[in-house]
Subunit: 119 residues, 2 copies
């Protein structure tokens, strides 16, 4: 790497991650991909997320074109969320990350304990 330039892609990757790279966005996409369609409170229970953060996260994801929102004007109201095509394509790397996480949690905890003992 030439030492006076930045990692050429990191800046752009950073931009995208700062939009859809937070933990709640990951988990919402992960959940919607798994279950297809979920209502607001189903997502809320599913993720253990606060009402406020879910509302904010869903609005961002809708704005960025990853999530589609369908409002059924019944009483009580019913709102369903699904992934858009872009959202589904985002699911692939998100899922890969989730699987890696599940597979490596133990390894990380072991490494962490080992590290802490040497200190």
């Amino acid at each position: 790497m030439p030492d006076n330039i930045q990692c050429p892609d990191c800046k752009r990757i950073n931009e995208v991650l700062s939009r859809v790279g937070d933990r709640w966005s990951f988990l919402v996409v992960f959940s919607l991909a798994r279950y297809g369609t979920l209502r607001f409170n189903e997502l809320k229970r599913s993720l253990g997320i606060s009402q406020r953060m879910l509302s904010l996260t869903l609005k961002q994801l809708e704005r960025d074109g990853l999530v589609h929102r369908t409002y059924h004007p019944s009483i009580p109201p019913k709102v369903e969320y699904t992934l858009t095509e872009t959202g589904r394509s985002f699911h692939e790397p998100v899922n890969a990350l989730g699987l890696w996480a599940l597979e490596n949690l133990d390894k990380i905890e072991t490494a962490r304990r080992a590290y802490d003992e040497t200190v």
Copy 2:
């Protein structure tokens, strides 16, 4: 989804992501995977990260067993960082995410503008 239980994997995924799922960790792993070995200040310039955050991020990644640190006691000192095997395996999903980010930045910005106009 049964409506009274949580997304079964989300809790564990959340745990791992809360450790290695921050943006700086992603970018450090992404950079180290691409360039192999980098010194502290090379990483710093490469990522546009503050000295403090890079120091903290590297220490976490070393602790979690994703990054290996080699100290050369010369004058001036020289410290090189590489990925461990776990770190390299982490690179796969991180890279997938990075590539997705690069491919979809435009699409996201377009969706965002469209959304903002309807409001």
